[in-house]
Amino acid sequence: MNAILPLSQVVLKEMYRRKDFYVLFVLTVVLTLAAGSANFFNEDRIVAYIKDLSLLLIWVAALVIAIVTTARQIPAERESRTIFPLLAKPLTRWQFLLGKFAGCWFTCGLALVVFYFFFAVICGTREHQMPLLQYLQALWLQWMMLGVVVALVLLGSILFSAPSANATISLVVVFGILLLGRHLGKVALQQEEPARSLVYTLYFLIPHLEWYDVRDLLIYNQPLIAWLDVGLATLYAAAYALFFLFATWLLFRRKSLSL
């Protein structure tokens, strides 16, 4: 654990000393502020629409931060050759991967806290109420989902040497799951065998990231999700993240690193 912490702190430090995060944050702030400052005569549907848009922006920004930050970690270490002095120290490759994972995941968590805090302040001033527990559930579930994404992208960075290829493929896969994941079951029903079994297998194999999209909780001020369900969703995300991390380690543990 002692060796994992400094590694993750370096990832975090990299994020706040680089400009990418600020660009996304400023963009989100400007759009949310612009939407929030408009007067829509408290028309519920329009307010919900604006909140939906702002939350979608937060979702996209968080996903971009997660994918872009994670995709460049290992290739950048290899390109600048910093991986060599690092692995020449008493650090196992599993610790190295865990450090990178933790760093990227904490980075996403920090970005989410900043985004949600800003969104809550804007909504709170407009609606004169702040359902804190709803915010907490939405943020927690999104963070868990990002854990799966970070682990998946780390696996991609071992499979694809170019960070741009990894980022693009990861974006397509993640957005594909988010948009189509929930429909795969229905699609399977409309297929003939063996396509039906294949689509079903895919439906049960992929991590259902769309389950973590609980924006409606904040948009329509819905009641809280049962904490047991939140716990199960957390376990589901942890299982997938661990599976991807384990696969990454299997590929990376004996990988020759050429100078």
């Binding site: 600048s80 120290k89 008493p90």
Partner: protein, 296 residues
């Protein structure tokens, strides 16, 4: 006297050759070993090698179909003893870097073994007391020197009370004290190389592995790095380094090994070799690798 007589004539002791006798077998020790236990063994009257490479073979499989694999290292056996400055020489592609890669666990050997202080190099604990400076590394440019050294020190789990004075000490040694708060991206090439040396020294290692430490440096930068190596030598550190600067090797090294096409061609004390061959190191090197001067 036959010059070849100096090849692999090393003063080995029975203890150094037999890990079974010393209880140094990695498989016996790996589960119960602490960092303290891997401290270099000091035995009166014996010289336990810091580095032991036995019959090392490294083959690179060709990615193209039908192409034969390439053997980068071919049956290399080598020992480096405590307190020595050992130079690994060879033309480009000779297998020096591959050998270092195996020693640092970056590369799996096809066959043979490599041990640091009697511990198999695949065990991370084997690297507890070593420092490594790779060639041409660009350290995290968003950190300053102090932060970088703190980061590496924490990887070694050095307590704060030890780490902070150590950071001051190594920054003073590599003469980067004045720029410790400056981001590394603003450093010159020579300064980058010195911060690399500083990170290699942060754990006060007993063995330093330096890959072309003076590569790409101007004469002043080269001299500074050489001075640091001399200072480490006077402190009794063991240094293994590869270089193409043969004049520098002659000045700094106690012993050298010349590798060509993955095979060990010569190993011996610099002083003895120069005496035996009646020529300088550069000419010995060229002769060993079979270079024939072309008449114009």
């Amino acid at each position: 006297m036959n010059p070849a007589s100096s090849i692999t004539q090393l003063p080995l002791t029975a203890a150094a050759l037999s890990p079974q006798m010393t209880g140094n077998r990695p498989e016996d020790r790996r589960l119960s070993m602490s960092a303290e236990e891997t401290k270099p063994p000091v035995t009166e009257g014996t010289r336990v090698p810091v580095i032991r490479i036995s019959n090392l073979v490294v083959e690179y499989r060709s990615k193209a179909l039908g192409q034969a694999s390439h053997r980068a290292v071919n049956g290399l056996s080598l020992e480096v003893h405590p307190g020595e400055v050992f130079g690994l020489l060879g033309p480009n592609g000779a297998g020096k870097t591959t050998t270092m890669q195996v020693l640092l666990g970056f590369q799996q050997p096809t066959s043979g073994t490599a041990c640091l202080y009697g511990v198999d190099v695949q065990e991370p604990i084997a690297r507890q007391h070593i420092g490594y400076l790779p060639e041409l590394t660009y350290y995290y440019k968003f950190l300053n020197a102090e932060e970088l050294l703190r980061f590496y020190g924490r990887i070694f789990k050095l307590p704060k009370a030890v780490l902070e004075p150590r950071i001051d000490e190594v920054l003073k040694l590599v003469e980067l004290e004045a720029v410790r708060k400056r981001l590394i991206k603003t450093y010159s090439k020579g300064m980058q190389q010195r911060i690399g040396l500083a990170q290699a020294l942060i754990n006060d290692p007993d063995l330093l592995i330096l890959d072309e430490p003076t590569s790409g440096l101007d004469p002043l930068g080269r001299m500074k790095v050489r001075e640091i190596i001399q200072r480490l030598k006077s402190q009794g550190k063991t240094v293994l380094f590869s270089s193409h600067e043969l004049g520098e090797v002659e000045t700094v090294c106690d012993r050298i090994a010349i590798i060509n096409r993955g095979e060990l061609k010569l190993v011996g004390r610099v002083h003895d070799l120069v005496k035996e061959y009646h020529m300088d190191l550069e000419r010995i090197f060229l002769r060993i690798i079979g270079y024939q001067a072309q008449s114009v």
